[in-house]
């Protein structure tokens, strides 16, 4: 039995899960009777996010993720000269279109997926792993009261630490690749769009609820090939849920989340169509937290510009990635913000055709302004190999 092929089949099917920022434009596809069809709530403008409730999961919505990325420095004298590491820990939950009337405890009401990755400049490659399970039997699931999502012994959870701050625990045991990280908030939440209502396409319903916890102080251990490394660093956590995101004709997206060195935070994304044109774009910038009231700017589709500066062609997949990207927020306005993003190393491509079935680039990047580094974060590129088919 070719387990390779079978796994590809399974995960190719799962890739179509609305797990990555993805969704279908239509939900009512069941032929004939629609009894038992799940109804996914529409993301609405003006619904305030309430915490800590909204730290938790939103099982009614079609898709949701907690997406932690960041830069780590290995501690200890032996690693004094070691370059930094990039890490990614993502938990998704998805609500498939299955008959809601099925009383079985095994009915796939919710699927939980997790992807983890570690970028190591010295190895110039991305180590990654993933898990998928249906929620249930306490073996996998998500809490609706606070951030707590798990698959078997992989878990990502939050608790309230002193003075209302958040402490996230990422417990991802593994020998080849594992994390035991504690992520402490140092700033307030950053709500994207209109107080967390983040439009993702030209249509009103193409939207998500989206907030970020930037500048998380990270400490803990990373396990790489059975070796535990004490690390410290700075991370970025996205939490986003929606029922429908991608506009018709969308083939992929570019996204960045950058912790600015001055304490500021910057998020921007654009949705591309088949010809590479921007279908929709948006961005959020918050100033450093030195003042009592940080400045917050949100940017609409026309004022966010992604300009590839340098490309890298993967010998593995043949895809060409814009690993050097110039992102301009507030384009056309005098206080426009322009960042040049440079990858930690070029090959941060995730050839997940045998797992999630798609090829994407998820990499640690340094942000520079006129050549001067001003922040570090993650760049995500999709749809450059084949269209992200959702």
């Amino acid at each position: 039995m070719n387990s390779f092929g079978a796994r590809r089949r399974l995960l190719a099917a799962l890739a179509a899960l609305p797990s990555l920022p993805a969704a279908g434009q239509s939900t009512a596809v069941q032929p004939g009777d629609t009894a038992g069809q799940p109804r996914y709530p529409t993301v609405r403008r003006g619904v305030p996010l309430v915490f800590p409730r909204d730290f938790g999961a939103h099982p009614e919505y079609r898709t949701e993720w907690w997406y932690a990325t960041g830069w780590l420095q290995v501690l200890g004298a032996a690693h004094a000269k070691a370059p930094p590491l990039g890490f990614q820990i993502t938990f998704f939950r998805s609500r498939p279109q299955v008959d809601t009337r099925n009383p079985s405890r095994f009915a796939a009401r919710e699927l939980v997926l997790a992807h983890i990755g570690l970028s190591d400049e010295r190895q110039r490659s991305l180590a990654h792993d993933q898990r998928t399970a249906r929620a249930g039997f306490d073996l996998a699931g998500s809490s609706t009261t606070d951030t707590d999502v798990w698959i078997d012994d992989w878990r990502f959870s939050r608790r309230t630490a002193r003075a209302g701050a958040s402490r996230y625990i990422a417990s991802i045991p593994g020998n080849r690749l594992g994390f035991e990280l504690q992520l402490d908030s140092t700033q307030s939440l950053l709500l994207h769009g209109e107080a967390g209502f983040s439009q993702k396409g030209p249509l009103e319903r193409q939207a998500s609820y989206y907030y970020t916890q930037p500048h998380l102080a990270v400490s803990g251990r990373v396990v790489r090939d059975s070796a535990a490394l004490e690390v410290t660093g700075r991370a970025w956590l996205d939490h986003e849920w929606s029922s429908e995101i991608l506009a018709e004709g969308a083939t992929g997206w570019d996204w960045i989340g950058i912790n600015l060195d001055d304490g500021g935070a910057l998020m921007a994304f654009r949705i591309r169509d088949r010809s590479g044109r921007t279908l929709y774009a948006s961005g959020t910038w918050r100033s450093g937290a030195q003042g009592a009231a940080p400045r917050l700017r949100t940017f609409g589709p026309r004022s966010v510009v992604f300009e590839p500066q340098r490309t890298w062609r993967s010998a593995r997949t043949g895809a060409t990635w814009p690993v050097g990207m110039r992102v301009t927020l507030g384009a056309g306005s005098p206080d426009a913000l322009t960042l040049d993003l440079e990858a930690m190393f070029d090959d941060q491509e995730l050839d997940a055709r045998t797992s999630t079935g798609i090829v994407y680039w998820e990499g640690a990047v340094t942000a520079r302004q006129q050549g001067r580094p001003i922040g570090r974060g993650y760049l995500e590129l999709t749809g450059y190999h084949t269209a992200v088919v959702l």
């Binding site: 039995m1 070719n2 387990s3 390779f4 092929g5 079978a6 796994r7 089949r9 399974l10 099917a13 799962l14 179509a16 899960l17 279908g24 596809v29 038992g36 998805s94 498939p96 279109q97 299955v98 008959d99 009337r101 099925n102 009383p103 079985s104 405890r105 095994f106 009915a107 796939a108 699927l111 998928t132 399970a133 249906r134 039997f137 306490d138 073996l139 078997d152 088919v389 959702l390």
Partner: protein, 866 residues
């Protein structure tokens, strides 16, 4: 170029000898046929079983994948809560929950109602253990804009409550394609499942469907239960320790087995049946070897002058031996090759027509595909040649020892020394040994000692036959001498008494084949009459209604039963449910039969062996079938622990009952007792007693009107069930009848070849008798009488031997391989007819095969002298 052994155009030595063999084409042909039949039958049985086992172990392999341990519950399943406990154990790297059903699919190309194995899996979990079960979503209904539409659906399709994925073999069998629907009967409901894709990982021939486990639980009314959990252990985990941890979290009745155990269980399923068939095939081969012996011995005796001449001319002993060996090898190779062809043909046809279990019902859910297995072909080819060589060995050695002068005598005495006494002592010893063997227990659940004792009895019978024959014929002759019986009869008796070695060999082969036939006839007759009586006693009601014949998803709901009770003409209804329970993970599961049993009179419903003991108060009484009692060593009064509804329940064995339908055992308990532990038990069958005056036909019609979807039931009267069961019985014994007939035909071949050869040798004798004034008719009568005398003796000895063998079959082989017993039933009339037929056949054979000698003018026969 000079060919070895060829001088100036003279044929080589072997060719010269081959000419001699050509002269006896008929006999050589008989040998070839005998070997071919033995090899063919053996190979066919072997290939059929290999095909079945390959398919079945392929299925096990396919369904288990890389599983380290399989946690298997009873057929009714076990509480799904165990899954979470198992999955959380530190020793467990991955756990895959599985629910299995044999869905009753209606209205497909495969038939009005057929059973399809459906495996409910968590595709996300199973992928870690067994990627072969991961379905492929078919791209059906794709619009013009590419694959977007179908892909968007594909995720949900994997988990949908009404989607099912079929193996290619299942698709072909049912005549469906992705995008079609299946109608599946569950209880009274007919459910529609969409075929959303295929199982590319399924091996050829595996008819199986995969569904989401949640969907399967819901669709098949199996909410809350699992059939099994497959687990993969964390690397470096000690299996024994893992077993301990597992035992602590598993409910009673869930067994821990390795995939190898599953394979063993599979193989155990059909082992007894397989071994029994193979033994029958070996009997055919043995008889064939015997015929080789007699033929080869005869042909060497006939060629003594030629052989002696060759030796006188300077051929070495070794050369003669090689020549004769080569000749046997050639004959054996031709026979074995023909046998291989026959075996392959028979196996292919049998598999195509009856399935790989020859209708035995051991391997459901598999579309058998005949696979030619080179090892088996080589093995049976070699066996055929070995049998030929074994048969030739003694005559060839005898030829080696032959002094040259003896063969060159002008008129060699055609009578090889009669050493009829020689076999007596070894024969008696073998009988004694056989007597010891029959009391030995089974060897790893196979009655090998029993078979060995049968073989010893056969050999002993043949060893003793010459001596017995001489004594009997001496008495016959002496008796005839005291009468004025016609000269031809007296001459026949004298001739029989003075039988040559060849003739006694033919007689021995008749004895062997007739013994086998008689033994089988007695065994089958005893078995059949027992089954018949058993059927009468297990079918006390007037009508039987059955819902679960195809698949296990049909059942009788309480509403169904209520509707049936209300039908006019129905006096009583008893519902019966069947499950399974594993008492030993290495053995096939035991059937669990739940039905109302009156504890004060269990004999009313069960054909008890012996009396029932009253259960101590508070204990659950169970009634154990004879096979279950024998396999697990259960006796009335003992306690057996059964896992009922996940609890280990100490049950009291109240009685043992006769059962011929469940070879691996059955345990019956009262419905009320069972419901105490398993509240939702589902009956599948109902026994209906009619009110006085009601007719079965009228009640059937009323039931049809009262019950919704009545077609899902089968209704039968006990007579029909009995007839049907006996038909199945006869069919499953058809192959044994065939092999017996083969043995007897081979025996008669021996008679024919011996008599025709003897007739030639006795040409002069017949000539003298004609000179003395005997008519041809009288000589023919003499021959017929000789044949009849031989056959009668053969029938007598063979009959007695057969009786002895049948006792071994009935009292040793059957209990040891099938774990049931039966009283002896002697089909006297049939045996008498058989014996008379044998005697007549031998008479006719003797006359017909000697007619050549009779037609030669008497003059020619005595010509040497004049």
């Amino acid at each position: 170029m000079t060919r070895r052994g060829s001088i100036a155009g003279l044929p080589p030595l072997a060719a010269w000898m081959a000419g001699a063999a050509r002269a006896s084409v008929g006999r050589t042909l008989a040998v070839v046929i005998a070997i071919a039949i033995g090899v063919g039958m053996g190979l066919a049985v072997y290939l059929i079983n290999r095909t079945a086992l390959d398919e079945f172990s392929g299925a096990v392999q396919f369904l288990l994948g890389d599983t380290d341990l399989e946690l298997r519950g009873p057929r009714d399943g076990f509480d799904e809560a165990a899954y979470a406990r198992v999955a959380r154990l530190p020793e467990v790297a991955a756990a895959s929950p599985v629910i299995e059903a044999n869905a009753r699919v209606e209205g497909s190309r495969a038939g009005a109602a057929v059973a399809l194995r459906v495996v409910g899996i968590d595709v996300l979990r199973v992928a870690m253990l067994n990627a072969g079960l991961v379905p492929e979503v078919a791209r059906v209904g794709v619009g013009g804009d590419g694959s977007t539409g179908s892909d968007r659906r594909s995720t949900s399709v994997l988990f949908d409550a009404d989607t099912v994925f079929l193996s290619p073999a299942a698709l072909e069998w049912l005549g469906v394609a992705p995008g079609d629907v299946l109608q599946v009967r569950v209880g009274a409901a007919l459910k529609t499942l969409r075929i959303a894709g295929t199982l590319p990982g399924a091996p050829r021939g595996q008819r199986v469907a995969v569904m989401d486990i949640g969907a399967a639980q819901w669709q098949f009314d199996r909410l809350g239960v699992l059939s099994r959990i497959d687990i993969k252990l964390r690397q470096g985990t000690d299996e024994a320790r893992a077993r301990q941890s597992l035992l602590a979290v598993l409910p009673a009745g869930v067994d821990i087995a390795t995939p190898a155990d599953a394979g063993k269980r599979t193989s155990n399923l059909s082992r007894a049946y397989r071994v029994n068939l193979n033994v029958l095939a070996l009997v055919a081969l043995f008889t064939g070897a015997f015929l080789v012996f007699s033929t080869q011995a005869l042909s060497i005796v006939r060629r003594r002058p030629q052989i002696a001449l060759l030796r006188a001319l300077g051929a070495s002993r070794g050369r003669i031996t090689r020549m004769l060996l080569l000749e046997s090898l050639a004959v054996g190779a031709i026979g074995a090759a023909a046998g291989v062809a026959l075996g392959i043909g028979v196996a292919a046809i049998a598999i195509a027509r009856f399935g790989a279990d020859l209708g035995g019902g051991y391997f459901p859910g598999i579309e058998p595909r005949f696979v030619l297995e080179p090892f088996g072909v080589a093995l049976f080819f070699a066996l055929g040649i070995a049998a030929t060589l074994a048969g030739s060995a003694a005559p060839i050695l005898a030829a080696r020892r032959e002094p040259i002068a003896g063969g060159l005598r002008a008129f060699p005495q055609a009578l090889p020394s009669r050493r009829s006494r020689a076999g007596v002592l070894p024969g008696l010893l073998l009988v004694g040994l056989a007597g010891v063997l029959v009391v030995l227990p089974a060897w790893s659940a196979l009655p090998l000692a029993g078979y060995l004792s049968i073989a010893l009895l056969l050999v002993a019978g043949m060893l003793l036959t010459p001596s017995i024959g001489r004594r009997v014929f001496q008495s016959v002759e002496a008796a005839l001498r005291r009468t004025d019986a016609p000269a031809w009869l007296q001459l026949a008796a004298s001739r029989a008494r003075a039988a040559t070695g060849m003739t006694t060999l033919a007689l021995a082969s008749v004895v062997a084949s007739f013994a086998v036939m008689v033994a089988m006839a007695i065994m089958v007759s005893s078995f059949r009459s027992s089954v018949d009586q058993w059927l009468v006693s297990v079918l006390p009601a007037d009508l039987y209604l059955r819902s679960a014949r195809d698949g296990d998803t049909g059942y009788l709901s309480p509403q169904d039963l209520a509707l049936m009770r209300a039908v006019p003409g129905v006096a009583t209804i008893e519902a019966l449910g069947t499950g399974s329970i594993t008492l030993d993970p290495l053995r096939p599961a035991v059937a669990l039969i739940v039905r109302p049993i009156d504890a004060s009179d269990p004999g009313a419903r069960l054909p008890l062996i012996g009396r029932a003991l009253p259960a101590p108060s508070g204990r659950v009484a169970v009634y154990v079938s004879e096979p279950a009692a024998r396999i697990y060593g259960l006796q009335p009064g003992q306690t057996v622990t059964l896992a009922l509804g996940g609890q280990a329940v100490e049950c009291f064995v109240a009685a043992v009952w006769r059962d011929y339908s469940r070879q691996f055992g059955a345990i019956t308990l009262d419905t009320d007792d069972y419901r105490r532990f398993v509240p939702g038990a589902r009956p599948t069958d109902a026994a209906i007693w009619l009110a006085p005056g009601a007719t079965a036909a009228a009640v059937t019609a009323s039931l049809a009107a009262a019950l919704p979807d009545f077609e899902r039931f089968e209704l039968a009267e006990p007579g029909a069930i009995r007839a049907y069961s006996l038909r199945i019985f006869d069919r499953s014994f058809a192959i044994t009848y065939l092999l017996e007939a083969v043995a007897v035909v081979i025996g008669l071949f021996g008679v024919a070849s011996t008599f025709s050869a003897e007739a030639l040798a006795r040409g002069r004798e017949f000539g003298v008798q004609r000179c003395l004034g005997m008519t041809r008719r009288e000589i023919a009568l003499q021959l017929a009488a000789e044949g009849a005398l031989f056959a009668a003796l053969g029938a007598l000895i063979g009959g007695l031997l057969g009786l002895a063998i049948s006792l071994v079959l009935i009292d040793v082989i059957n209990p040891q391989s099938f774990n049931w017993t039966m009283p002896l039933d002697l089909p006297a009339g049939f045996l008498a007819v058989l014996a008379v037929a044998l005697v007549l056949a031998a008479s006719v054979t003797a006359v017909v095969s000697a007619r050549g000698a009779l037609s030669v003018a008497a003059v020619r026969a005595v010509r040497d002298d004049w």
